[in-house]
Symmetry: C2
Subunit: 220 residues, 2 copies
Amino acid sequence: MSDPSETGQSPPNFDQEFQARLRDLFLWRRDVRRFRRDPVPAATVSDLLSLAVLAPSVGYSQPWRFVVVEDAARRAAVRKNFAHCNAEALNQQHGDRAELYARLKLDGLEDAPVQLAVFCDEGTQAGHGLGRRTMPETLRYSVVTAVHTLWLAARARGIGVGWVSILDPQALSQTLDVPDDWSLVAYLCVGWPEEEHLDPELARSGWEVRQASADTVCWR
Amino acid sequence: MSDPSETGQSPPNFDQEFQARLRDLFLWRRDVRRFRRDPVPAATVSDLLSLAVLAPSVGYSQPWRFVVVEDAARRAAVRKNFAHCNAEALNQQHGDRAELYARLKLDGLEDAPVQLAVFCDEGTQAGHGLGRRTMPETLRYSVVTAVHTLWLAARARGIGVGWVSILDPQALSQTLDVPDDWSLVAYLCVGWPEEEHLDPELARSGWEVRQASADTVCWR
């Protein structure tokens, strides 16, 4: 694998065929909650992590910290954390929506062979504060772009990713025994999907519909 | 363009050639601050926005709101906002770092033909709160993945994107006259880059170095 700092190379020409395939990748990237239990090779996980760190970061701060969660007791604690938070979330839904919520599958924590907790190192000195004086949240946003990079790279290998956010982040940080100044950005389930879908699970289940583009773009 | 909600299609096979090109895309996606002034066709901008909304979002909330900034007076106010915040940021750097900071080019606001302010609609009812009770910040994270999707799609068309965060977000929201419950996530300069680079500008200028992967991955 070549070093990204090497110079003297000319930029690739991304042709229309690639652009079309990239669109397919965006379309078929799904939040996966149903995983086969087959293991994902360690080299593949390592490959995905090496791509994730090519993401942009504010001031080149590279604040992403990936915790590969393998210990059975810790994984059980994560599942318990999710079950608790999901029960509370269900309590806040009412009527038909509560019934629908109860039927949704919102995590793949039981089956996903690879689980990654992704943190932001809020204490990092890298980047020397550049670009985050007025918008300090851009440090965490940098971590989000790394998560998304990993997600797309995984899907291009046929591997699914599911982002679980129904968790108590403080409890999760304790479970994983990470430094105090790391804040949780995402907990990712990773593995081979049981099914492939073009439409989001929450659209298919009738939870939400695609928003009209007229509602998302305006001119000033 | 096919509707992403259509069903019955089988998933594409992303082969090794595509995976290698995707890695090139991650490697050559740069934060661009030096733009040619040639216009970007409106259809291309529209195309990029239609790809951006294929990003994942918590609870399928799709909270991204894109403001295409075209008015000359508003653009001038954005430049003034940046100049003010950048001068204050320079004041916080000391010695050699202050000298280095002063030499950095941190925005393309003068030349970028397309400028997009990207907001999160904090008041959206879409998604019915799913997934964001314990981690409400995932609403803004969803907008970040849309920004990153647009960035990658742009680069695949030879178009550069630069994310400007050295801005007072409240002042920017006033300049653009957006609803009170929209929060700024990113201000993007978009256009044809004057130069192409494999290494990040802040690495090339000596501001920061690539972090060792051993410092970003751990096991639990």
